[in-house]
Symmetry: C2
């Protein structure tokens, strides 16, 4: 394993110790548990937003905690869910009395543990709602959208809900907008190599050299097909087809585009991909309002990428344009037109 | 080659086409040549700053073009220098009549081509100065600093010169500050895997599994030793020794720290590294003023990282704290203290 690790058992806690040292004014932990990651800059009285999930996906999940985005994050082991107790501790720490919204990806362990935390919070009279993001088009067919995995497109759900909460909207409105964001985002991904989990020291799945897997998940969940590695433009065209058909899009629609690198894929190639995505959208008469190109939901040292489209209307655009700032990412106020 | 490529010959131009599509308001190209990368937001009357170098290192070099940073960048093929004609075209495009400063890394091809461009600009009555950054401590011993390669630490030279030019200082002052930044920055790097150049389709050097190379350059230039892969903390301790001895540092000094991922190394591990770097600095009584952890000078899909220290005084801190914004990176105004 060509990686920078001490004892693999300490991987997550040492990573967290590094983040807390690097951004001590922005983030800290609830109580003694480093994995109860919270913002130190929570606006008083707002709806609190909490996410969580396995480690190994930076900047997902904790990288989205900060003003204009989320307030806390339960940090699990690599590719493992945070515990209900951790989520509850974060909930109590960041709750401002205006309700708490859990936003997380559609994975069994997360659903179970966030669900238990919600029940425990209810018993302490903290109102908790949940929005589960799942936008990986190829992970489950149309008609079975509720089985879709959450991947990089959750960025848009965080962004919209974060801006809504920062605008001091009530829990009903924040939840409505988070659900609307979920309904408007779609992702298709592909992988070129597996990744290695530090505690295992080897890949838990394989992709042969010269092959690629379309639709593979960020934990190596099987995709829809293994094919010979094609040219970048052909791969993009193949991925854009289900992406555009699923919602579906029509001429005149406006979108935000997110090109996400899985880890080892050079940023150079994400721009080669963006070039083709933009060209296809132009050809369909779909306007690109703005774009994000970089690493938003990685999978350790996996090579590959995902394309997310977020269909905009006036309301979503308003919240998308609002600023945010975390130790990992930031955005200035964008022009709404 | 598990990479997203069309015809490898078009790698750089397709990447550039993607960047221009992604950030059309921020950057463009001088004339018809995509590789003559210029800011569209150059402040009138300022000293113009130009860099350049081979592709394959994003966000280096072109990612540092934008307000508060640089004004133009000559974009070479992967690991190849831009041509003198390209650098001249950029020079003519961004020159504001207040002088032009070329800032680039200490590599033979770049020195030759920027030198020729400078001579050609002189003939057109454009005053050009040059500052060559070389801060890779292990690439050449003390007493032979002029042979050191430029690596991720050039970030600080760009940052200081960019802020100085943005403050409307004259060419003498901007050059002086850029040289002062060079004199105050030191980097040590290590690599865990080679990288693959698209046109070659295979690695042009190798690192065996279970080994690491301390001091390796970002194009695979040999380091000072190949060793068994050690624990992250031991690697950091080994790298910090020459870094702290070279300048040298004394108790009470204040530094900015930059932890740079070479491409395939997960961000998680850069924080494991930062944690240990901060601990060592604390132990020596050296204060960390601020830090940058992420990818600043990559080498395609190479795994590994570098540590840069930038020794601060009141003047450097002032320019370090000023804001900048490019399509790749941004910084708000920091508090000077």
């Amino acid at each position: 394993m060509q990686r920078l690790v001490n004892d693999p058992k300490n991987y997550v806690d040492e990573m967290l110790a590094g983040i807390y040292k690097a951004a001590p004014e922005a983030v800290g932990h609830a109580g003694d548990d480093l994995r109860c990651y919270v913002s130190k800059q929570v606006k008083k009285g707002k709806v609190a937003l909490i996410t969580g999930g396995g480690s190994g996906h930076l900047p997902l999940f904790l990288g989205y905690v900060g003003p204009g985005m989320l307030d806390g994050c339960g940090v699990g082991g690599v590719f493992q869910s945070p515990s209900p107790d951790q989520i509850l501790a974060i909930t109590k720490e960041v709750s401002q009395g205006a309700g708490v919204l859990y936003i997380y990806g559609n994975y069994g362990g997360d659903i179970m543990n966030f669900g238990m935390a919600k029940d425990m919070a209810d018993m302490e009279d903290i109102e908790v709602r949940e929005v589960i993001a799942g936008e990986d088009v190829l992970s489950s067919p149309k008609g079975h959208e509720d089985k879709r995995r959450g991947v990089a497109g959750i960025f848009y759900v965080y962004k919209i809900a974060g801006a809504a909460a920062d605008s001091m909207l009530g829990i009903d409105e924040v939840e409505r907008l988070a659900r609307k964001a979920c309904a408007n985002v779609r992702t298709v991904g592909m992988a070129l190599t597996p990744c290695i989990i530090p505690e295992k020291g080897k890949a838990n799945f394989s992709i042969e050299p010269g092959k690629m897997e379309i639709g593979m998940g960020i934990h190596g969940e099987p995709g829809i097909k293994v094919e010979d590695l094609a040219k970048a433009d052909d791969i993009v065209a193949e991925m854009m087809k289900p992406l555009l058909e699923d919602l579906p899009y029509v001429k005149g629609d406006e979108v935000s585009v997110l090109i996400n690198g899985l880890g080892a894929t050079p940023r150079e190639e994400l721009y080669i991909v963006y070039r083709k995505v933009a060209e296809i959208l132009e050809g369909k008469g779909i306007k690109v309002f703005n774009n994000y190109v970089g690493e938003f939901a990685t999978s350790m040292d996996m090579a590959g990428m995902s394309i997310s489209l977020f269909k905009l209307d006036k309301e979503l655009k308003h919240y998308l344009c609002m600023p945010f700032e975390t130790p990992f990412l930031s955005q200035k106020q964008l022009k709404e037109d």
